[in-house]
């Protein structure tokens, strides 16, 4: 380890480290524009000049590797003069329009100009004029301000894997911009506004909304997927103005995806403003006081036998506190065992085996994923389920890892080295079983996947949304465990088993027992309650009489939405939640809750890291924290919930599951990840079945619309995934041809008695004999065709 001296302070660093990196370790700030710790070194701005003893010229610290005995001065005369020179060059063609620049007040150029810039210009020649670009709904450009640091270019090339930005022409005609006139396609575009050191690339929705210094900031955790990225929520006058990333090397490094950054404008839309009860005279929902509404809710709850009451909770919109209080209220205040959060799950057979947290979540920490050498994605489209997890996979593939995807269609991806294995829905278990056989046998020709898997030293396997919600999910999961066991990848040194439950706070719902077969802390129950499917079936056939909904709407989210609608219509519904939804409209009592960002919350990410998120803004005046609603409701029962403060609730939660013992942990501090038992191995594998014939329907959650807030965001509504418009039915062109269906045509999709109308869009990435549609589209609810037990529906199409 070379030792060097920077400004009189000695430090030893890894060989190959740069002076800049050494200085950062020492806490010595060296001014810079082009350097970014997460990007390759460009060394082009020349601002980071330092003096190194025995070197005649100043050197750029971001690019110069350290050597033994170096003596570096970061603030000598030579250095100051050099920086002043560079600063002047950067400013001569800069418009200096700070007063009308969004970046003003938080601009590196402005800040460093204060320190090194001349107080008047010596430049009396023509100032350059650059053209601006339409980069889509997220970025506003003002390219006159560009200082050509190429951060944006390096980001799109290296990190986002969507090389759409570049520099054309040369010299002082050099222009940074997109290569084409189309908007950028990356799901990480918003980062460009944050990483541009000046006001050239700006956050468009934030454009002219506020000045940086007026904003108040809160430390948040993103709940729009389960990666749990660290955010800084900037707000003014109780309104979220923008969301920025907070650095967290273990999780999001310095990035956010566009969903996490721009969903915020959905926060205030379609909110429940006050408690409501259904009037007996008019049968309409009418505003009521909290006392009246709570009394009514309690009355209704008491009207039925406890076993006739069931609860369903959202896994994306609730904090751990809410989830904990919810299960405790149902189990111990009302006395019913029926509760669940798994509205999208089809296969509940795993509830019969004593699985632990390790079996249900990730075991390879995000920060280790980049070290994997073989990656197997099963029913997982990481780029559009968990974008920042995907970046780690991309890093691994850039470092040489091979990736394989087993999926019902071609994935949209930006991995460097991916082999796609398209498997017909229903044939997955057979496929994985075949792979296991290949691994077992010593003879003959092996597939590339088997070959790579056998040789892998640090393989990772990731089960995604499709695998988790598959009709044979448990059989797939067991195959996955067996595959890893075969290659010794379930050890404490390297555990490659990852079930990526990618939605919001799904991990907390599992941990805290919002399931019918376990108490908080993975304590199995003797007597299982009803699962999500059985609850809705029970409600539809009259065995369940009252549904308590916590922020979820089965009529949008459930596997079978026509069953869900019947269930809601036939039962008494008490709705606790933040947003207006069809389920709330059908409720007998509506109790307005708060959304993420409006209250502190504990959110558990997909690695199992419980994190505290701060409150940013206040919700509707009358709305209350959902756990407090449950607490108040419980006052009307014999055994009220035993906590009056969030802290007391958190203490109780921590006692039930030690992973929630985050005492003294501030928002933004990092808790431990993956505190797990070993993965359960050796469970019997299922017998292999084959897929159904005919045209099969797969319903997929649309990435930018997959939770209550994101679904209501008008910013996100402008984004597509580089595929057909939201709500269309994606069909292979040949299948469409055979059925005489054209692109954009209205079709009726029929499955047995049920049918739905929708718009077809032809998509060559879709394999033959499978069609794909979006979940939860009110205009065309494709889940209406899905019978819970029926697997993937076999459908026929008629052009209209």
């Amino acid at each position: 380890m070379p030792t060097l001296i920077i400004d009189g302070k000695e430090i030893s660093v890894q060989p190959g480290a740069t002076i800049m990196e050494a200085a950062r370790l020492l806490g010595v700030y060296i001014p810079h524009f082009c350097y970014h710790p997460q990007l390759s070194i460009a060394g082009n701005c020349r601002m980071c000049l330092v003096e190194v003893e025995k070197m005649p010229r100043p050197v750029v610290s971001c690019a110069m590797p350290v050597s033994e005995g170096m003596v570096v001065k970061t603030d000598s005369d030579m250095v100051r003069k050099g920086r002043q020179a560079v600063m002047e060059f950067l400013l001569i063609n800069h418009p200096l329009d700070c007063p009308v620049c969004d970046q003003g007040g938080e601009c590196t150029l402005q800040d460093l100009a204060m320190k090194y810039g001349p107080d008047r210009s010596r430049y009396h020649e023509h100032k350059r004029h650059e053209r601006d670009y339409d980069l889509g709904p997220l970025l506003e450009t003002e390219m006159n301000r560009c200082i050509h640091c190429t951060r944006c270019i390096r980001f799109t090339d290296e990190v986002a894997g969507a090389p759409e930005m570049g520099a054309v022409y040369r010299g002082d005609h050099m222009q940074v911009g997109p290569y084409t006139s189309r908007p950028l396609t990356s799901e990480l575009t918003g980062n460009l506004a944050e990483l541009c050191p000046v006001g050239a690339l700006n956050n468009k929705p934030f454009h002219f909304q506020a000045r940086g210094w007026e904003l108040k900031n809160s430390d948040g955790i993103c709940a729009h997927c389960a990666v749990g990225c660290h955010q800084r929520v900037d707000h003014l006058n109780n309104e979220v103005k923008r969301v920025m990333s907070r650095r967290c090397p273990e999780i999001n490094q310095t990035w956010l995806c566009d969903k996490g950054r721009f969903a915020y404008d959905g926060l205030t839309r379609e909110r429940l403003q006050q408690p409501m009860v259904r009037s007996e005279e008019s049968n309409q929902l009418v505003p009521a006081s909290w006392a009246v509404a709570l009394d009514r809710a309690a009355d209704l709850l008491k009207r039925f036998k406890p076993e006739e009451v069931a609860g369903l909770a959202s896994e994306s919109g609730q904090g751990a506190e809410e989830l904990y209080a919810f299960q405790e209220f149902l189990r111990h205040v009302v006395g019913t065992p029926h509760l669940d959060h798994r509205l999208r799950q089809r296969d509940f057979s795993a509830d019969e085996v004593p699985l632990t947290r390790a079996d249900l979540s990730m075991n390879t920490p995000l920060s280790q994923l980049g070290k994997a050498d073989v990656i197997l994605l099963i029913g997982f489209e990481p780029r559009y389920e968990t974008p920042l997890l995907n970046l780690r996979l991309r890093q691994a593939t850039l470092a040489g890892a091979r990736a394989f995807a087993v999926h019902p269609r071609q994935l949209q991806h930006n991995l460097a080295n991916l082999t796609q294995l398209v498997v017909r829905p229903g044939d997955e278990v057979a496929f994985l079983d075949g792979l296991l056989q290949e691994l077992g046998s010593s003879d003959g020709h092996r597939s590339a996947l088997a070959e790579a898997w056998q040789k892998a030293k640090q393989p990772v396997l990731l089960l995604g949304n499709y695998a988790i919600h598959h009709p044979q999910a448990e059989a797939i999961r067991r195959c996955a465990v067996a595959l890893l066991e075969r290659v010794g990848a379930l050890s404490t040194q390297w555990n490659g088993f990852n079930r990526v439950a990618g939605r919001g706070n799904a991990a907390a719902a599992q941990d805290l027992g919002v399931v019918p077969h376990r108490d908080p802390g993975y304590r199995r129950l003797e007597r299982h309650g009803r699962n999500a499917q059985q609850i809705l079936q029970g409600a539809a056939n009259g065995e369940i009489r009252l549904l308590l909904l916590l922020g979820c709407d089965p009529s949008i989210e459930a596997v079978d939405t026509s069953l869900a609608r019947t269930a809601l219509a036939k039962s008494v519904v008490i709705y606790i939640g933040a947003q207006q939804t069809p389920a709330a409209e059908m409720a007998a009592v509506v109790l307005p809750g708060l959304a993420n960002g409006e209250r502190p919350a504990t959110l558990t990410n997909l690695e199992g890291r419980a994190q505290r998120s701060d409150m940013a803004v206040m919700g509707p005046v009358q709305a209350k924290e959902d756990w407090r609603i449950l607490r108040s409701l419980s006052d009307r029962f014999a055994k009220p919930l035993p906590y009056n403060t969030r802290e007391a609730l958190q203490a109780r939660m921590a006692a039930a599951d030690h992973r929630y013992a985050l005492d003294g942990l501030e928002a933004g501090e990092l808790s431990a990840a993956c505190d797990h038992k070993p993965v359960t191995a050796g469970l019997p594998l299922a017998t292999v079945a084959t897929s159904k014939d005919g045209l099969l329907l797969v319903v997929e959650p649309p990435f930018f619309q997959d939770d209550a807030i994101a679904r209501r965001s008008t910013i996100l509504a402008q984004l597509t995934l580089g595929r057909s418009a939201l709500g269309t039915l994606r069909i292979n062109p040949e299948d469409a041809g055979k059925a005489n269906i054209g692109d954009g045509q209205r079709v009726r999709m029929i499955c047995g008695e049920r049918n739905v109308e929708c718009i077809a869009s032809l998509d060559a990435n879709v394999p033959a004999q499978v069609v794909f549609g979006d979940m939860g589209q009110r205009a065309a609810l494709l889940q209406d065709l899905c019978d819970w037990d029926g697997g993937f529906p076999q459908v026929s199409l008629v052009g209209l």
Binding site: A85, I92, N93, D172, H173, M174
Partner: protein, 420 residues
């Protein structure tokens, strides 16, 4: 005087293999293949030859930096010849391409490179054809390919035509361009000897440097170093242009007095020696020398550098008294502004600034402060850029003001040239 790179140039069809061989061509290669790579490097070190592309870095030393690991190594010939005033390599490419090829095979063998590229300036279309034809001949004759001269050595050679950017003559800009990217110089370190073309160790040399190699091997490094003067050994082609009676390429021993080069070889200054105003001795980026200096200076690396300029690529640009220095330098500044790759701030912004000030002064719109501003801006560029183009843009301006400040002052005061 002894000639090396141009010694066969007068022969009819000197570019063909037959003529080159009959004049003794490829004998050096035959000899080289009996030696070890290190022996060859030692011989080249002993010759003292310095790179003829501009920087004058000792070639043998450069070769010895190539690590002896098992990565694929590359040899690149820099035939971009972009420095204004320089046209010496062109005649080698045109008339003795085999001598270059022979030099490259020897160099490749010495540093264990099995692949070579000749990066030719885009405008040298015919030259590229000539070189390609010579390469084809060399393949057919077994000098190139899997089994060079039946000795089990492998060397493949290919021509790559540039797109016409001066900065692609800078060695790492050239490498980027050769890899198919935008020609923007790389940060150093790492140097090409360690991480160069396609990430492999790479030797990159000028045409003239490599063309000198066969004679060094054949006659020995000691023989070569007996030519020229101390630390500037061997011969050098000077491309004399401007106001001389016989402009052209002259291969002479280094250390020759400039006055002898101009008066005896280049036919004298137009209008006689006293009509001389100054000489740019080493291509556009070298500061101009005044007549007084030209009287005595000798053409070797050290003497020119002591005189405050550079031997550079050996392009000698002669300016007589009819030349307006301000106009001449303004034109050069425009060149550098146009050719800056735009990557690093001081050069991207500074070359544009310099050029605009020079233009203004030239057009009679300058003010007195502009002269010191030029010096200050040029000084601010120097030593802070990624490649030497930034320095190259600054130096002629600084040199011209230093030598001919009164002409600049006249320009800003009178709004026109001092010369009629």
């Amino acid at each position: 005087m002894t000639k090396i790179v141009y010694k066969h140039i007068h022969l009819e069809n000197s570019h063909t293999l037959a003529v080159y061989k009959s004049a003794g061509g490829y004998q050096a290669l035959e000899k080289a293949l009996t030696l070890s790579g290190d022996d060859i490097i030692d011989e080249v070190k002993r010759s003292g030859i310095r790179g003829r592309g501009g920087a004058g870095f000792p070639a043998g030393l450069k070769w010895s930096f190539i690590p002896k690991d098992d990565r694929a190594k590359y040899l690149v010939c820099n035939a971009d010849e972009g420095e204004p005033g320089t046209c010496k390599d062109r005649d080698i490419l045109r008339y003795v391409p085999h001598q270059l090829i022979e030099g490259m095979i020897i160099a490749g063998y010495a540093v264990r490179a099995e692949r070579g590229y000749i990066y030719i300036r885009g405008e040298f279309y015919r030259e590229a054809e000539r070189v390609q034809a010579a390469i084809d001949e060399a393949y057919a004759a077994g000098y190139l390919g899997d089994n060079v001269m039946g000795r089990g050595v492998r060397f493949d050679l290919a021509v790559h035509r540039g797109g016409g950017a001066y900065v692609c003559g800078e060695e790492t800009g050239l490498i980027e361009s050769l890899e198919g990217k935008k020609g923007q110089p790389r940060l150093k370190p790492p140097f090409p000897a360690n991480i160069g073309l396609y990430g492999g160790p790479t030797v990159i040399n000028n045409v003239e440097t490599l063309t000198s190699v066969p004679d060094i091997i054949l006659n020995g490094g000691a023989w070569y170093s007996s030519l020229g003067v101390d630390k500037s050994t061997g011969t050098k082609v000077f491309a004399v242009s401007g106001h001389v009676n016989k402009p052209g390429n002259y291969e002479v021993e280094l250390g020759i007095p400039l006055k002898v080069l101009l008066e005896e070889y280049a036919g004298g200054i137009r209008g006689g020696w006293d009509n001389l105003k100054g000489v740019i001795p080493g291509g556009a980026s070298s500061p101009v020398l005044t007549k007084t200096v030209c009287e005595t200076v000798t053409m070797d690396y050290d003497a020119i550098s002591k005189a405050g300029s550079m031997l550079g690529s050996g392009a000698v640009i002669v300016l007589d008294r009819s030349v307006c220095i301000v106009r001449a330098i303004a034109r050069l500044s425009r060149f550098y502004r146009h050719e800056s790759c735009g990557q690093c701030s001081p050069c991207r912004e500074g070359t544009g600034w310099l050029s605009q000030i020079m233009q203004r002064i030239e057009q009679g719109k300058g003010v007195r402060e502009d002269i010191d501003l030029l010096l200050s801006v040029a000084g601010n560029i120097q030593g802070k850029t990624i490649c030497a183009l930034g320095d190259a843009a600054a130096m002629p301006v600084v040199g011209a003001i230093r030598a001919f400040r009164e002409e600049f002052e006249y320009h800003v005061e009178h709004g026109r040239c001092m010369v009629a």
